[in-house]
Symmetry: C2
Subunit: 423 residues, 2 copies
């Protein structure tokens, strides 16, 4: 248990700084074994390579023209100029998609189109636009071309036996393109992490029902499912589980047995939080890793690990639950998808000017939701969306968020902030 | 036809600036009718609302506590201080998920947990931690609370009949959460745009085949399919179609009849480009909108519209094809998904320092692929990935790209550039 760290506003010990909490979590997850599967190439989009892929051949396999023009021997053109043009005889033509017939001899050239295979003897291509036709059989050039001009040489794109893609690489559209170009039809990738989601609390009813007085519809189940799917997880929604200890334990245990990550979210009451902690400890070692972080909103998160399943007790308030997902669950999913913790996540942002002063308590990381408003061509105003963390509509009105650092006591109006978009 | 614009390096007329080409395209597409469909809420993730959604009820429907503590009448606490504490009698308890029994009378309070419904008579909640138990029936407070403290009031999140989400809103996870909270189980959204993809050229074979001499594997088909799927399109891959005019025309015509957008990519030869232009003109009005843009790579793109289907003739080189997808096809897909052209796309980026000088020809927009390398905690180096536009491996090595403006002749080493990540 790591309970060193900051005190909360009431002087309670045990709040872990966000950075430290994340490091503890990722360190534990990094040593878990990951399962692999073999997929046909088109199905491997957005999956992570379990092995390095070496090129089985040179790409391209033969030099090809990258322009419409004439395949020439570069040496034949040396010295050509306006005052001393050079003349080449058209001795053949490369038909598209076919092996060239014949060879380019000294003083001769072949007509060639973009993509055409360079004929024997030639080592450069001169563009149509840089030639002047003398007659049907002869062209004039007033400029020389160097060896390799306007062509892509054998192995220029990638060389045989060189690394095409490294292990742990996330397969984007262009990566599928590269593998297709090499004729690699199947790849070994890591399995998608399985995420089980439970909502708990006797006041929660399924969102499809009309809640009787005192109860509310479940918001977190559908939001967390959608967030996890977008991160590439296989999601199982276990619905609403009673917060009676016995029933709740059995529910979390089943989910933990069937998944790599379990998310439960419940009321933010002290009773619910204690229940969550007891259940995680009871499930198996190492148990609780973090309980409570120096973060607003999102302070009451509990993070645990039991028998190789990461278990997140997320705050019941929808805003807090989503913030905790972004800061802790998404990085965990990334790691369990096969992307090593050492690979810096690239987090693009939009710079915007803050439109009012925002206060913050030192000693915790604050996440401020904002709406972005364009001002002129390339400049944005960040308008904080204030509201309680129980208010889901504040998340719908927000485009993204920025952070106020642990050390800071607030940010002044007109300061430039880095806004991360909500997924 | 819009052929005003810049000359290319050989003095040919007809290159349209990128911004103008995009404006022409989006203007034509903005007036096309979009089809709708009704979906169950969980299936509507990443879809765009076809109607405004008004809240059918107040959310929350009743005031609820946001803390563990005591429901009080705020007026009873006024004036409480260290030197003059105030005392309240514990007269009941709110059971979670149930309607409170009884009413909070003057001088009394009810125990309440986070999420509990505020009992009649009470108008604020005082946190446990701010109270001192006197005995089982009495608490002492040394601080007053204002009306509305530590509770979320009826309709605080969203008010009945107010706009919950506007028309044309993209449904993110938190938006599904909001609609679930309101009990809205089905939504009207726009249909996903249908994209048909063809590769052409007699030198192209399916990537699953081993190409005979003179031919190469199709790279663009799988790359473009993956790019379009990621943009939320329904993709049909028509495979490789011969570039014989009759066969090619029939292939594009079928794809145009069955889709909202057709992408064909072929050799970048002049012959192929002429064929593409003839086919688009023959398919129907208005025909060609743009042929050739002042962009590198990606200059030879042809954009047309025939009988309400947008047709893109993309360059055959994989890098050029992908760049044209990012700059023209992705915005078209966004528009046809239901997001109006007037909504500024939010394009997050990563600031990075350029690690070498890069030259550019004025008069065209240059897109430079880069690899990002972290330096210190929050600073990145942008290393240009150079290579021919036929080289797919340059795209796999790149994290993203930055632009060199039409007016600029280059960018100096150490300049800060805005890097957009490849999807």
């Amino acid at each position: 248990m790591t309970t060193k760290g900051l005190k909360d506003m009431l002087g309670r010990q045990g709040l872990t700084p966000v950075k430290e909490a994340l490091a503890i979590l990722l360190q534990e997850l990094a040593i878990l074994p990951l399962n692999q599967e073999r997929l046909p190439l088109p199905a491997a989009l957005d999956r992570v390579l379990a092995n390095e892929i070496c090129s089985p051949e040179d790409l391209p396999r033969h030099p090809r023209s990258t322009m419409d023009g004439f395949a020439v021997r570069a040496a034949d053109t040396f010295g050509a100029s306006q005052s001393m043009p050079c003349y080449l005889e058209i001795d053949g033509e490369v038909a598209m998609g076919q092996a060239p017939k014949g060879e380019v001899h000294k003083g001769k050239c072949f007509r060639i189109a973009t993509g055409g295979l360079l004929p024997q003897g030639s080592d450069a291509v001169i563009m149509f636009e840089h030639t002047i036709p003398v007659d049907d059989r002869m062209i004039e050039l007033i400029k020389s071309v160097g060896v390799g001009t306007n062509l892509i040489d054998r192995g220029d794109d990638i060389r045989k036996e060189h690394t095409a893609l490294p292990k742990n690489h996330l397969l984007r559209p262009q990566d599928l393109g590269l593998l297709a170009g090499l004729g690699i039809g199947e790849v070994d990738v890591y399995q998608q992490p399985r995420v089980g989601i439970l909502s708990t609390g006797d006041e929660i009813v399924p969102w499809s029902q009309s809640p009787p007085l005192g109860k509310i519809r479940d918001i977190n189940g559908i939001t967390l499912s959608a967030l996890a799917s977008r991160c590439g997880a296989q999601v199982t929604d276990y619905g609403i589980v009673s917060d009676t200890e016995e029933i709740f334990f059995a529910g979390v245990q089943q989910a933990a047995n069937e998944n790599d990550i379990v998310l439960f979210s419940g009321g933010s009451s002290v009773g619910m939080r204690d229940l969550g902690e007891r259940v995680i400890e009871k499930l198996g070692n190492p148990g609780i890793l973090v309980h409570g972080v120096a973060l607003k909103p999102g302070k009451p998160i509990i993070i645990g690990l039991s028998n190789n399943t990461a278990i997140f007790g997320l705050p019941g308030h929808p805003v807090s639950a989503m913030v905790c997902f972004e800061l802790f669950v998404a990085p965990a999913l990334r790691l369990l998808s096969g992307i090593p913790a050492s690979a810096t996540p690239l987090k693009p942002s939009i710079r915007a000017k803050l439109d009012r002063n925002i206060n913050s308590a030192a000693g915790r990381l604050d996440l401020v939701r904002v709406q972005l408003k364009q001002q002129g061509d390339n400049s944005f105003l960040a308008i904080p969306v204030l509201g309680k963390s129980g208010s889901i509509s504040t998340l719908s009105r927000a485009h993204g968020y920025f952070f106020i650092d642990t050390q800071s006591q607030g940010i002044h109006k007109d300061t430039e902030v880095k806004v991360h978009l909500f997924q």
